[in-house]
C-alpha cells in the first residue's frame, strides 16, 4: 500500500491537515477570536505569519482551528453520503426492476434541486449544530455516490461470477456484499475526491450565507468569505484559507486515485 505514490502524497497532505487540526493550540500563539483593532488587515509578518483579518484576528490561528471544523464536518458528510449512496446503489443495480426504478426517480428529484438549496432546506429543518450540518451537507451528496455505485453494480450483476456464486447457493445479500460491493467500491473511491471537494465548498457556502456553524467557531469557508470584501487590500486572508481548502481537496484527489489503483489486484501486481 505504501508503494503507491498517490496514496503516499495524498495521505501525507491529509495527515498534515489532521495534525494541524489536532495540534492547533500548540501551533498558534493567538486566540482565534481575539480582536485587535490596532492591527487589522496587517500583511504577513514575524508576529502574524499569515497576517490579520479586518478585526485584527490572527489568520493562521483561525485557519488552524478552522481545520477542526472543516475537516470533521466534510469528512462526516462524505461518510454519510458514501455509505448511503453505495448501499442504495448496489441494491438498485443488483435487484434492478421496481426498486431500481423508484430509487432512480427519487434520486432524480434530489438532483433537480441545486445541492446548496437542498442543504439549506435540510439545515433549516434540522436546526443549526455541527452534527446537523454534516447531514445537511452529506445528504445532497448521496446522488453522486448512488449513481456511480448503481451503474457499476448494474454491469457487475451480469458477470458470470455472480451467477456462479448463485449456483453454489449464495443468497442475494451475500452476493451483494462479496461480489458486487468489492467490484463497485473502487469506482466509488474515484468520486470520493469530488465528494470531499463538494462538501468542503458546501460548508464554505453555508458559512457565507450565515447558515453555517454558529459563530465564533471559525471554519475555512467562513474565513474565505469574511476576507472576500478585502480581497484587493488584504488578499492574504482569502489566499491562505483558500490555499488550505485547495490543498485538502488535492490531498483527497490523490488519495482517491491511489485507493482505486490499490484496490484493483490487477494494477497492484503490475506496479509491485
Amino acid at each position: 500500500m505504501l508503494k503507491n505514490k498517490h496514496i503516499l502524497a495524498g495521505g501525507a497532505i491529509i495527515a498534515v491537515m489532521i495534525f494541524i487540526a489536532i495540534a492547533a493550540p500548540l501551533l498558534t500563539s493567538y486566540d482565534f477570536s481575539e480582536l485587535d483593532f490596532a492591527s487589522k488587515n496587517k500583511p504577513p509578518a514575524a508576529d502574524h505569519v499569515m497576517g490579520t483579518d479586518q478585526y485584527g484576528r490572527d489568520v493562521w490561528s483561525r485557519i488552524a482551528y478552522g481545520a477542526r471544523v472543516s475537516l470533521t464536518v466534510s469528512l462526516a458528510a462524505v461518510l454519510i453520503a458514501i455509505v448511503c449512496g453505495s448501499f442504495l446503489g448496489v441494491v438498485s443495480g443488483y435487484l434492478k426492476g421496481k426498486f431500481d426504478f423508484i430509487m432512480g426517480r427519487l434520486i432524480d428529484i434530489m438532483m433537480a434541486f441545486p445541492a446548496i438549496l437542498l442543504s439549506l432546506i435540510i439545515g433549516a429543518a434540522l436546526g443549526a449544530s455541527i452534527r446537523n450540518m454534516c447531514f445537511s451537507i452529506g445528504i445532497p451528496l448521496i446522488p453522486i455516490f448512488y449513481r456511480v455505485a448503481r451503474g457499476a453494480a448494474f454491469s457487475v450483476a451480469d458477470r458470470t461470477f455472480v451467477m456462479a456464486s448463485r449456483s453454489i447457493g449464495s443468497s442475494g445479500v451475500r452476493i451483494m456484499i462479496w461480489h458486487i460491493l468489492p467490484n463497485v467500491l473502487p469506482q466509488v473511491f474515484v468520486v470520493l475526491s469530488m465528494g470531499m471537494g463538494g462538501s468542503i465548498l458546501a460548508e464554505a457556502s453555508l458559512g457565507f450565507l450565515g447558515l453555517g456553524i454558529p459563530q465564533p467557531t471559525p471554519s475555512w469557508g467562513l474565513i474565505v468569505n469574511e476576507g472576500k470584501a478585502f480581497m484587493f487590500t488584504a488578499p492574504w486572508t482569502t489566499a491562505f484559507s483558500g490555499l488550505f481548502i485547495a490543498l485538502t481537496i488535492l490531498g483527497f484527489n490523490l488519495l482517491g486515485d491511489g485507493l482505486r489503483d490499490h484496490l484493483d489486484p490487477k494494477l497492484r501486481t503490475l506496479s509491485a
Binding site: 458470470t160 461470477f161 451467477m163 456464486s165 453454489i168 447457493g169 451475500r174 468489492p182 490487477k266
Partner: protein, 332 residues
Amino acid sequence: MADSGEDLLIRFEELTKTFKVSSRGFGSERITAVDHVSFSIRRGETFGLVGESGCGKSTFSKIALRLVEATSGSVFYEGRDIYKMPFRQLREIRRDMQVVFQDPYDSLNPRLTLEELAAEPLRVHKQGGKAARRERVESLFNDVGLPTSIMGRYPHQLSGGQRQRLCIARTLALSPKFIILDEAVSALDVSIQAQILNLLQDLKKQFNLTYLFISHNLSVVKFASDRIGVMYFGRIIEIAEKRELFSNVLHPYTYALLSAIPGAGLEAEKRRALMQAGAPSIFNAPKGCAFSSRCPWSKDMCGKEPPTLKDMGGGHCAACHFAGELELNLGL
C-alpha cells in the same frame, strides 16, 4: 420417452425459454432460445449436448438448474420438480447440482483470492471452521491438480487452464452428484483441453459424478460422452447412445455435423449443399422443420410441419419426417 426401470438422476420436461429482445425502433420481438427440450440423464453417465454456436446450449444449462427462470417446463431432480420448489429448498439442492460456465475468464470474481474462491461454497453452506475449510481447500487443489502454493493469488494471475481447474474445484467443494460442463474446454488450447478432459474423467470415477457435457465441438463430445443429444435452433433433433449415433445417423443435421469430422466420406456435392445455406434467422423461425432450408433432402412437407422427436428403436430418437428413410452413410 420410455426410460423404464432405469436409474434416472435428472429429467428435463418441455423446457422452454423465450427472450424478449427489443429491436431498433419500436416494440420488441420474442425469440425462442430453448424450445420444448425434453430428455433425461441416467445416474453415472455423461450426456453430451452438441450444437452450433447460438443454438441455445448455454441458455439451456442455466434454465436446467433454474439459475435463470425458464418460460415453461419442469426439471425433475431425483423425482422432485425444482421449478416447484421454494427458494430456500432450491438453495439446499444446489449443493448437488453444479455448473462450470463457458467463460473461465469471467467466472471468477477478480477481487477474491483463489483460496477464498474455492472456500466460498463451504462458507455459503456453513461447513467447517476456518481450519477445516483450509484443509478441504487444500485437498480440492490436489484433486484438480493445482499447487497449493498459489492459494493466495488472484484469478488474473492464472492461465486459462488453471482457471478452469479452479472452477472445477469450486463445483466439487460441496460433493455434488451432477455437474453441467458448459463448453468447459472450448476456451482452452488443444493440449490443455486434453488435460482437462482427462481430469474430468478421473474426477467422475473418483466421486461418482454424472455429467451434462455441452460443446459445439463434436470430437470433444464424442470423446467425453456415453450418450449424445444434438441440438439445433433450440430443439433436440436427435438423441442416441454414442456408438449408435455414429453408426446409424438418422437426422440430416447430425449427418452434417458428423461429416465435418475428418475421415467421413461424404459426396462433395452434398457437403457443399449442407455448408452453403447458413442457419435461418432466429427472428423469423421457419414454420416447419428448422433445418429444412439447409437440408438437401428437404421435401414439401418439411417446410410446413415441424417434426416431433420420435423413438426409432432402442432409445434412438430423431426429429425428422424421413428418419430412417434417408441414406445417411458416413463410412466411419
